[in-house]
Amino acid sequence: MSTSAIARRYAKALVQLGAEEGQVDKFNGELTRINAVLAANTELSSLFSNPAYGNEAKKEILKDIIGKLSLSALVSNFLQLLLDRSRLSLLPVIAESYGTFADDLSGVIRPTLTSGLPLDESQVEAIKQSLAVSTGKKVLLKVEVNPALIGGVVTKIGDKVFDGSVRTQLAKIQDILQKG
């Protein structure tokens, strides 16, 4: 089984527990925080993956981190389980998968909105509303500017793309002209 598949299984199990506890978003935040801490501190990550250190010593260090981050008991146990099974290195993938599952569960989508020219706040909000109406989900937009688009906007939700850019329209016109 691939590591991503294993990570998805762990993430799915934690999401289910979070859903039962009604703390899906809270767990998501905690996972994101500890993942950020480990990502920022490469020595710490190396320590957890180094077999020269004993498991007990690693557990003590992990408990200290958990205590400083004030993580919930369920997330603490989850992290210790990962440590026991030497799966702590999968935490970045687990956190990402958890975010996806949590978004699905709570009806949230996180599209990326790319614009050829900078957008007004009102325009971003209008697009957000239109996407919410179109998908029926809560929309958390990530806005970017790409001058290559010339004008217009492109929204990417997962593997779906809503393209309203001038660049794409020009490409269509060129295709039509070429085909005659």
Partner: protein, 204 residues
């Protein structure tokens, strides 16, 4: 084949022997005649001489008859005649055979000439057919080549047209992009965003 029979060696020996005997007897006759001389005529002697002469003649005749009989001249002549007749018959047969062969070879020659004529005619006909076939094949091949060349030319024309169209489209779009980049303003972007929003809303 004609064969001529030669007379036997014994016949020649017998004839020669008879001639020698006759010559001897004649010599004896002359010898007795010479010994008496030309004194006076003695009738008794004359009679004796005559008797000797008769005896001599009789012996000579007997020997001659005997020699002739022994030599079998008649048989030889008959044999010779038969041989000549046989030779003539054989010559006639040979001539007939030769004439027959001549007729046979004439027929064969005529037949061969006929066959040669027929073969020649057949070859000419076959040549004509082959010629027609080769011309037909060449015509067909030429037509195929012409069609292929036409197709290739059409293909090249289409390709050139497509390339020209592609290039024209690329240039047109490049020009349009340049113009848009130079002239796009805030209200254009607002309009594009407005259109986009209305389309997104109607998507679901």
């Amino acid at each position: 084949m004609i064969r001529i029979r030669k007379p036997g060696m014994s016949s020649y020996v017998i004839t020669a022997s008879a001639c020698l005997v006759l010559a001897g007897l004649a010599a004896v006759g002359y010898a007795s005649e010479g010994g008496e001389g030309a004194h006076h005529v003695d009738t008794a002697k004359q009679m004796k001489d005559f008797a000797w002469r008769c005896l001599d003649f009789a012996a000579l005749a007997a020997i001659a008859v005997w020699a002739v009989k022994k030599a079998n001249v008649k048989g030889m002549l008959a044999e010779r005649q038969a041989a000549i007749e046989k030779m003539l018959r054989e010559a006639v047969e040979a001539r007939e055979q030769a004439e027959k062969k001549f007729r046979e070879y004439s027929d064969k020659l005529e037949k061969a000439n006929k066959e040669i004529d027929e073969i020649s005619a057949a070859m000419k006909l076959e040549g004509k057919i082959e010629k027609a076939r080769i011309i037909a094949e060449a015509t067909s091949a030429a037509e195929k080549i012409r069609v292929q060349a036409q197709r290739a030319a059409d293909h090249e024309v289409l390709k050139a047209r497509a390339e020209l169209r592609e290039e024209a489209a690329r240039l047109a779009v490049e020009l349009a992009e340049k113009k848009i980049r130079e002239n796009i303003e805030k209200h254009d972007q607002d309009k594009l965003v407005g259109d986009y929003i209305s389309k997104v809303v109607t998507l679901h």
